[in-house]
Structures are given as C-alpha cells and as structure tokens.
Symmetry: C4
C-alpha cells in the first residue's frame, strides 16, 4: 500500500464516522475512555486505592500508552497537523496523556492526575456521529438571541445577591456564621438559587425575616430565564417551520398562509403541493 | 353456563372496565391493593411491627392468597396466556404474590418483602378506565419529539457535574468531606439539581467560590428543559389545530370548533371524520 | 329612619365595596384584622408572651368583641341569613371569634387559639374590590383545562417517589435514618421537590448513587408542569384575544385574519374598524 | 476655554457615553468602583483585616476622595443640579462617599461602612452604554402587564405559607423547633420556595406528612409564575410582529423582515418609519 493511501485510510478510520472501520474505531475508543474514567473514579476511593492501587496504576499506564499511540496516529494522518494540535480536541487528546507522564517525574504531581478526568470530554467527539448537533444549534441559537435578556436577568440576580448578602452581614454578623462579606455573598447565592445547604443560615428573627423576603424574591425571578427561553424556542421553531422557499428570489421564511413572497412580491407556489 | 362463555364472562369482569361487574371488580381490587400497600407502610414502622406485627402478617397472607387467586383467574381467562404472563402487568401481578411465598422458605428473604410495594403499580391498570391516556400520550409525544434537545441538555448537565465535581475534589479534598471522585460527583448532583442537603458542603473560600459559580450555572440551565417542553407542547396543540383543510379553498389552519372556512366561507367537513 | 332602610344601609356599608362608607368600612376592617393577626404572631413568641401577655390578651378580647359585633351585624343585615352563615366567609367569620370564647371555658383549648390565624383569610374578602378575580379566573381556567395533564404528571411524580423511596429503604435501611417506609417516602418527597433539608440523607455509596438518579429524574420532570401551564395560558389568552363577534350569529372567537364567520359562514366586519 | 464650554465639555466626559473621552471616563470609573468594592470584600475577612487593614484603609480614603471629587464635578456640570442630586444615581453617588466620612466622627459607625457596598450599583450607570435597556424594557413590560396574575400567584403562595406554617406550629410545637408562629412561617417559606436549609425540619410523623403535602403543593405552583411569564413574553413578541399594516390591503401581521405584503403582494412601508 502506498504511504499516502495508508495515511488517508488511517485518517478515515480514526477521524471518520462511517459504518465499518471508522465507526468500530469510535466505539472501541469510547469504551476504552469510559473504562479509564471509571478506573479513575474507583481509584479515588481510598479503601480501593489501598487494596488495588497497584493494579489500577498498571491499567492506567496501559491506557496512557494507548492514548499516546492514538494521539501520535492522529497527528500523523491529519492533513493539517498544526490545526489539529491546536484544536479543542487536539488539546483534550494531549491532556489525556500528559498528567500520567508528569507524575513519573514530578513527585507532588499527584493532584494533577485529576486532570485525566477531562478525558470524558473525548467521548463527545464520538457523539458527533449521532447528529445531535442540529438540536444543540437550535438551543445555542436561542440562548444567543436571548443573551441580552439573560444578561439583564443575571444582573438582576447579582444585584439581589449583593443587596441581601450585605444586609445579612450587617444583621446577622460574624457570631451567626456570616463572618465576612464574601461568605455572606456565598450564603445569598446558596439561598437565591434555592440550593439551601443550611451550612450558614440566619438565626436572628430579623435575619430570618430578611432571608424570607430574599427567598420569595428569588422564587419569583426564577420564572424569568424560563419564560425568556420558552418564548425564544417557540419563535425559533416557528421560524424553522416556515422553511418555504420563493421560486423567484429563492428566499425562505414564508408562512403557511402567505400567497406572495414577502421579499420580492412574486406569487408563491401553494404549500403542500 | 358453557365453559367458553364462562371464561369470556370472567374475562369481561376481570379485564373489562365497563360500568357494572367490570368496573365494580376494578374498584374492589383498587381498594384491596391500597389497603395492602398501607399495611406494608405501617408494618415497616418498628413500634407498630412489634405490637401488631402478627395481625399485619395474617392480613398479608390473606392479601397474598387473594392476589394469587386473581392471578390464576387472569391466566385462566386470558385469550393469549403467554402474552399476559410476559406482559408488564402480568409480571407486576406475579411480583405482588411471590415475595410472601418466598419469605416462608428462605429465612433471609425479609428484605424481599419490600418488593411488594410495587403492588402500587397495579393501581395504574385501574386508572385506564379514567381515560387519562390521551393526555399522557400528548405528554409522551412532546417528550419524544424533543428527546434530542433533552439529550443535549442532559449531556450539558453531566458535563457541568463532571467539571465541577472534579474541581471540588481538587480544591476541597478529603479533609472537607470530598473524600473521593464519586462522592464529589454526588455533591455536584445534589448542588446542580438545587436539592442541597448540606451533608457535604464546601468549607474553603475557593471551594465556596467555585460552588457559587456551579449554582448560578445550574440556575441558568434549569430553564432549558422547561423552555424545550413548553415550546413542544404549544406546537403540539397548534399542529392539532392546523391539520384541518377546507375542501373548497384548500387552506389549512381551522380550529376544532369551526364550522365554516375562515378564508372562503364554505362549510367545513366535521373534524375527525 | 325606618327599619328596612336602616338594614339596607347597613348591608351597603358592611357588604358593599363602593367608595364612601362601604370602602371605608372595608379598609377599617382590613386594618383591624391585620393588627389582630400581628398580635397573634407576636404573642406566640414566648419571651414577648411572658412580658406583655396580659396586654395582648386584653387586646385579643377587644378584637374578639369587635369581630363578634361585626358577625352579628352581618347576620342581621343579610337578605338571606342562612346562606350567609353557611357560606365560606360566614364560616371564616365565625371561626374568627369562637376560639377565644372556647378558651374561657375549656382549659386545654390553648392550642385552639391558633385557629384564629385563619382570620387572615378574611382579608381576601376585601381584596374583592381590587378586581383581581378575572385574572384569578384565567389561571383557574388554565389549571382546570390542563387538570388531566397535571394529574398524569402528579401520578408520575408519585410513582417516582414510591419507587425511589422503597429502593432507599432497602439500600440504606434503618441504621442510616431510613427507619420506615413512610419515612423513606418523606425523604423521597423532600428530594424530588428539590427542598433537600438534609435531615435524612443517603450515607452508603449505593444509596448516594440511587439518590443521584432520583435527583436528575426529578430535575427533568419539573419541566413538565411548567410546560403544560405555559402552553395552556398561551392558548387561553389567544382564545381571549380573538374576542371578535359575528354580527350575524353573535358568536365570538374569530381570529384577526378571518374574513368569514367560522360558525355560520356570514361575512365578518373587518377588525379594527 | 470659556467657562460655559468647559462645563459642557466636562458634562460630555462625565455623563456622556460616546467613544472617546466619555467612554474612557466610564471605563476608568467602572474599574475604580470594582476595585473599591473588591477592597471592601477583602477587608471584611478578619484575617486580612488584621494583616493589611491599614493599607486597605488608606486605599479606602483614596477611593473616597476620588468619588467625592467625581460627585462634586457631577454637581458642577449638571444643567439641573437639584434634579441630579435627588435622582437615584445622585443619591447612590452620595452614599458612596458619606459612610467613610461619618466613620471619622462617629466611633460606632463601623457598621455603616457596609453601605459602601452599594457603590456596586454605580456600575449599572456604565451599563447604560451597552444598550441593554430595550431588553430590560421588554421584561419589565411583560412583568407589568402580568402583574395582576403575579399578585394572584403571590397571594396564593402567602396563603399556602400561612396555612402550613400555622398547622406545623400546632402539630410540631416548640419542642421540635417550631418555637413561635413567625418561626413557623419562616420554615414554611424555606420549604415552599424549595430552599430547604434544614435548620428547622419536621420530626413527628404527622408533621412530616403535612410537610410532604406542602412540598408537593409548592412543587405544583412553582409552574404558575413561569407559565405566566412565558405566555406574556410570547405575546409581547407576537404583538411587535403583528402591529405592521399593509397600506394596500390593510391587513396586519407582517414580520419585521418582510418587504412585501403576504396577503396581496404589494410593497410594505419599512418598519419603524
């Protein structure tokens, strides 16, 4: 087999998603990634680490070698190597291997090993073959076209957090757990988002009264992002629904009831034949 | 009464939902199921179990005999016995009796008895007579046609959980309760879904800062599934409306209540046939 | 003044809401109710009760006499006395006075006094004059016409609660706080509704895993009631918007774009003049 | 430079938002505000205050002098000085400087210093240049036109809180943490808004049962404000679309992007003039 054609074939297998070798490679890779992430999870439990730490380490070295091989192959068969290396997935692929190597040389790099968990992001590459992208695009477009409304909402939420956080710092004070302004803000965020751990909670009657107002306020404003996105998604899908093309000016976006093109004024062919 | 006709009559009573014997049987069965489940609930409270355990056990034996009889009758009068036994409700009916019998023979099967709680699922069979199904179908159809958007949402949520969970494992560490990666993920899920037990909560300032970002992120993304479903349900109901055509001017978009075409004034054919 | 006309005038003042004596009486009553409820709140704090309990009791007697007088006057001037006494507000008016009298005669009736808090419901009568009713009706109509979808949702939620509650009872067991089935169901409700007190929380890894699944499930299904109500409210308001009447058959419900009545086929007058 | 023109130029720089001196001043001011607020945050942490308190105090004096200078300049160059001083931002500008001065003269005014945090509100003035206002207006208009529905919702929520709060006071009582009616109401608000700190939680089985009902109720009603706002936002955007009329056939319902009437094919006048 000539070298160029081998490279093209390898590219097809590694980067391709068609049924056959390309898809099989993807599925194999996904399984390996998920096992390596599962090993990572299990290894972080200290009892298991003490008992089976050595076996898990051996497995980890194996996974890293495999991913290194894959990374090298990807670089080798990329038409534009630099573009691949600097791409999002190129960096994720690199990050999947580096921490293990570093832990050999740098003694305190134990913590760096957690970075390996971002290997899980590599699974998303495989998801490309499931054609979820168009759906994700609708969501992203909706979020994008309502980004100003969402900014207004986030600014309102931040104002609520700052106002109630500093009020509670004044009212409750350090002796009730509101030891500093940042900690009060943390309390306000925990409360406004309705998470409510209870690690810091108001103890004075006045503090509980102010907290009650904060909660009812946040209860009311949680409706805002939902309303914004609902409205946007409905419009987005109505826009998409009206994918009727004018034969004259080739433009889309005509409603079902339209008789004439709204862009050029020519008569439209009736919908549904 | 000839055997075949007796079997048909029994089938009508047991499986049927028409007013009369069929409905009465359903109501009687529902009451028995609910009482047996209530007995199960009450029996799980140790004080009550110590005092009235024997009576409750006697009642349980009675219920089990009743359900066994019913199960046998259902098998007997089914036109297709194998289909019934392997159907969802067939298995639920079997599960409603087996645990009690097993507890006689296997000493450690005490825990199996909780399986009897799934008897409550048998109540849903009775709900069939309330014609809720068409409503459930609209919901299921909406969920189904937005399943890709919901998958995209769930993948985003899982990414947020993995990213914040592993970050917190790094930042807070085992001494603050984040003893392992799975436990950190558990914390992240408790936080992102805004449940917020407070059994694990960040204690370092940096951890509280990262947790704050996780909370605000999750607060924003909770809007996504709601927006998706709202948009879908609205379209579903508009689709139902716009699928009616005028025979005269061939235009769509007539409501269920309309008798005449709103575009040309001709009489419309009645909806649904 | 003749007796009949005095009665009619009294009725106007007490039950009426027109500007003048009727509205002034309403406002005076609302203020008295709110003060009496505030006194009740304050009196329930034991430190205040110990210091000012006597004064608050004196005030309470005064309020009760006032409400008794008002109740007698309402009965006196009602055109249909029996209907008033048995109406919702008639019973609330009675409940506002009875507990205080009972506490004189029955020594252990101290707890009954809390019933007086339902005096706050009497404020709603006054709200009638604010014409909020039509808005409330839109909401109630929307909730009503989507009651089947909401039932389907509630049944799903209850199933989730029963399934996860009994699973956790099996997995965590009494030693981790899941002492009985009802208590496990309480945990499941606290979790599924995202309240998350943390008074009972899973401690075993398997329990935490199951709880995580329960949380993500509930996170997804919280979108359902919101979506249902959004869709319903939009349709409700679109229905109301199309309040265009046909001159021929006097029926409403025509869209802005309609040229012909969809009920009788006659030509409609164009919208907006 | 004549005095009047200097004043006008100063006004342009301080109040203006055009690219050049006006925008540069805004950006400089925003940076200074954010640094001064960050200093405030950091200063409230007692360890940092003990170590670097003196430096932070010096910085604070500098910031205050700067803001005082800015305040004086704003008064000087305002065309209508009284209007500026009494405006929202005029008061916020004053509040940004006063607490520091007061802390020199009044010894116990330490707590007043927290008021300085409202300097953060001054950042919003700068946001004006980002044209977020039209988006905020859509939100405010939607909230405004659904304010009656939201009032009905808030009244319902308050009724739920009062009913369940007083029930729990009766059922759980002081020995389980429900020491007074206001505290029970606080519990009810924490529960209904799904915050769920867990600082007060029901301990008796009956209390847990009632709390469960309260949670499921609140779970169902959280859908109401979202549904209201979604419906309103969708209508708001449809209203914007449908207010454009064709001059030829007098029909409404044209989108912003349309050039020709979809009903008769005539050219439309461009939107917004």
């Amino acid at each position: 087999m000539p070298k160029a054609s081998f490279k093209a074939r390898l590219n097809e297998i590694i980067f391709g998603t068609e049924p056959g070798a390309g898809r099989n490679f993807d599925i194999f890779l996904m399984v390996v990634i998920l096992i390596s992430v599962a090993a990572l999870f299990v290894d972080s439990i200290s009892e298991i680490n003490q008992k089976y730490g050595e076996y898990l380490f051996a497995a980890e070295v194996l996974f890293t070698l495999l991913f290194t091989l894959e990374y090298a192959a990807r670089i080798y068969c990329s038409p534009n190597r630099k573009a691949y290396i600097l791409s999002f997935y190129g960096l994720v692929d690199l990050l999947a291997t580096i921490p293990t190597y570093l832990s050999f040389f740098i003694p305190g790099a134990q913590h760096l090993l957690v970075i390996r968990i971002f290997r899980v992001l590599r699974v998303f590459r495989v998801f490309k073959l499931l054609h979820y992208m168009s759906e994700a695009n609708v969501l992203i477009r909706s979020l994008n076209s309502s980004r100003r409304k969402i900014s207004v909402f986030l600014i309102s939420v931040l104002t609520v957090i700052v106002v109630f956080g500093s009020l509670m710092y004044l009212v409750e004070g350090p002796k009730n757990g509101f030891t500093s302004l940042p900690r009060s803000m943390y309390w306000a965020i925990v409360t406004v988002t309705t998470v409510g751990y209870g690690d810091i909670s108001p103890r004075t009657p006045l503090g509980q009264f102010i907290a009650s107002i904060a909660m009812i306020t946040s209860y009311a404003i949680i409706a805002i992002p939902t309303g914004i996105l609902s409205a946007e998604l409905i419009q987005e899908s109505q826009r998409a629904m009206s994918s009727r093309k004018c034969d004259s000016c080739q433009k889309f976006g005509h409603e079902k009831e339209s008789n004439y093109c709204k862009h050029c004024g020519e008569k439209l062919t009736p919908p549904y034949g």
